[in-house]
Subunit: 477 residues, 2 copies
Amino acid sequence: MKQEESSTKDTKLLFRQAYDYIVTRIELGEWQTHDKLPSIRMLAQELRIHRLTVFRAYQMLKQNGKAYVKEKSGYYVSPGNTQQVISEHPESHPVTSSGFLKNSLAEIQQVPVVYQFSQALIDPNLLPNLYLSEYVKQVFDDYPKLMGTYSNVQGDEELCEFLCRYMKESHNLQLSVSDLLVTTGGQQAIDLISRVYIRPMDPILVERPTYSSALDIFRQQGARIIPVDITLGGYDLEKVEMLMIQHRPRIFYMNPTFHNPTGYTVPKAQRKQLVELAERYHCLLVEDDAIHEMYFDEPPPEPMLTYDTNGWVVYIRSFSKYVAPGLRICVVIGRPSVITPLLTAKSLADNGTPLVNQKLFLHYFESERMRQHLKKLRIALQVRKEIVEEELKTTGWTWDSPKGGFNLWLKLPETLPVEGFLNECMEQSISFIPGIICDPLREMRSWIRLSYSFINEEHLRSGVRRLANIAERYSVR
Amino acid sequence: MKQEESSTKDTKLLFRQAYDYIVTRIELGEWQTHDKLPSIRMLAQELRIHRLTVFRAYQMLKQNGKAYVKEKSGYYVSPGNTQQVISEHPESHPVTSSGFLKNSLAEIQQVPVVYQFSQALIDPNLLPNLYLSEYVKQVFDDYPKLMGTYSNVQGDEELCEFLCRYMKESHNLQLSVSDLLVTTGGQQAIDLISRVYIRPMDPILVERPTYSSALDIFRQQGARIIPVDITLGGYDLEKVEMLMIQHRPRIFYMNPTFHNPTGYTVPKAQRKQLVELAERYHCLLVEDDAIHEMYFDEPPPEPMLTYDTNGWVVYIRSFSKYVAPGLRICVVIGRPSVITPLLTAKSLADNGTPLVNQKLFLHYFESERMRQHLKKLRIALQVRKEIVEEELKTTGWTWDSPKGGFNLWLKLPETLPVEGFLNECMEQSISFIPGIICDPLREMRSWIRLSYSFINEEHLRSGVRRLANIAERYSVR
């Protein structure tokens, strides 16, 4: 019985994947208006799925007005589906962008609101700002030519050497400078990895749910996204292996520690096994680890990277979200064979992260003061999380209380339609992230991500009350 | 007669373009080992060129071992041409990058040498460093939470408003904030524009010679590069129009003011006409203007952007090369319809340029001190240029003395093979840029770019003498 259920669900997933895949190709402009779509037989062969699955996807395309049928000929792209820039004066200025570009998260975060529950970022007031200013002056005295000097592409040598020592001390990893690449934030790291290691149509594994901008980056690159459910207990490893056998994915993009958006942490026991699976099936694990130090009671398990023996993990350690968001410093760690092509991509993308940022970060992060500060930060975050949880008690919403990180992943009742609820909240100057944009399958309609890291305790309390009030009024009974 | 010559040259160009195009697709991994290449008829149709031209390109592929022929079937990709990461342990670690990645310029510049003639960048000692450090402290006092704050994607509002005023004062342009996007250096601007406005196989116009990293970016994107000669007098506009009619290029990437590498400036009279051509043939002019203020005797003509009435120019104004290389601040200017898709691409690429850099740049660049400093900088540069020209007099090399900028574009005698000469120089701790990497056709073997902006006067003199000595010894007689 369980077997049957699972296979029904898989078929459903496959059919949605095929549908998404075709829509993406249309939006990318590869298949244009009135172009003939591949035959069901051809597409089934290409995607290695059953013809009936492709048939169902085509039926849905037709239903949704994205394709039409010509008798005895096949399916054709309906007009109006290729993504184009909407120009203010379309006649006089038809410059059109070529790609499928969307960043749903940024669209929400860019709206200025009083109650910013959409920003998974540390409250600037929690940083030791006065100390910081004093400290910056010292750095500019130490490096008087800082403003006039380019960084190399890989990253400032002094910073890279420090990061090697840091990874040795904190994770007992033996690294050399050629294993590192400094990037401008974790976002750039994901983008570079995507550009180097994903070709259009390449299958990749991605957690469900996941960081929505990563999804947008992978879609922009034309990847075929295969979801892997993440739960409180981690992944279903048998399922992961099955997907690796079936699809031979190029990468598995994962965020196993205080996962965004759920807050889950993949247990230690699974980590080694995952690295073994990656090795066996030649799938590069892309481990995104942006808030490793933001735990509450005890440190999380060691990164996947520490279990890697043959170079099948590339590790993204961002310090942007809780050390110095104004500097955007992140390091990518992997074997030189993995890092070298990323270096070239980085040199083409921006010629290296600005030196000022690297030097400021280095001297700030290695200071004793910063180490002390991290302890305070963890406590402040935990307090904020508890405030939100307390205020949410009466809502009837459900969640797993996270053991670290910035977010609550909340299941709302079915009677509360999230899209309308979000619009209503935005009008009342409250923002959060709707779960649907974190879902590769775009189905998690009853979930939202609420970040408690960005707004201060007072606003946090009143903000959650407002939110709960709006929900109360907005619910469909 | 002239007609005929030109048409012969065009055919030659076309055949080389077709060749490059096929090689790029193979290197990109789109056509893999033992894949059948498209038929001559199909490719001729796709590229809108004559079948004989494709035939010549295929013959050359065969000659160079990149393709082989099966009787009565066609051309196939030979093994060993797809770009792959060379792993240290190929058996144990076959992670391969997916794309065609190369940055020839960065490869040369990353080599540490004493006499850095390859770096078109201002000598850090020419910046007012002491003043700078004092000044930075002030900025951190004024914005105590700077280190803790993310920028928005478009760019810091205060900076954008300043840049609008600046463009009004310096070029009488009436802009609003929505016409701007702040990027991390000009390189990122070119990369974002390339990602948004170029699809694989799109024809684009590029100056010959040009900025070599731009070429590498366009190749990475899979563009079909069509060269436009730039000379002391600008472009051959009739030729440009012909190319626009023939190829309908999506963009024309140009660097019309103190052009890199030649130093040429497209005359005022041609600028308006070029904008008109762009409008007529719906070709977006991408105007790269990185050293506009680095003139010697008189300011250069106004940017192309000032002649634009219908939104066919997107303007890249970098301040990275002579204001503050350690900050990497650049602004892209265009109509909102052109800028909006770039904003999304920027949000996916790195979520916005770090705020620290934007604030430091703003307060530095708008200061009276900086304005005064630019005057001194221009004089210092001119002195350096003259030192190099004086020292080169006895070499027999030829060049057009530039009216601004950082580079000399030098024609070497045929008796001096540049590749070996460069290797010899690198061994003696001297670097420069070989012209061949600046040439879309990879043919300018007798040219080199010598940057006089980066090394101090004393080293400049001794460096050029060393260079000339090596040339003397290395020449084939």
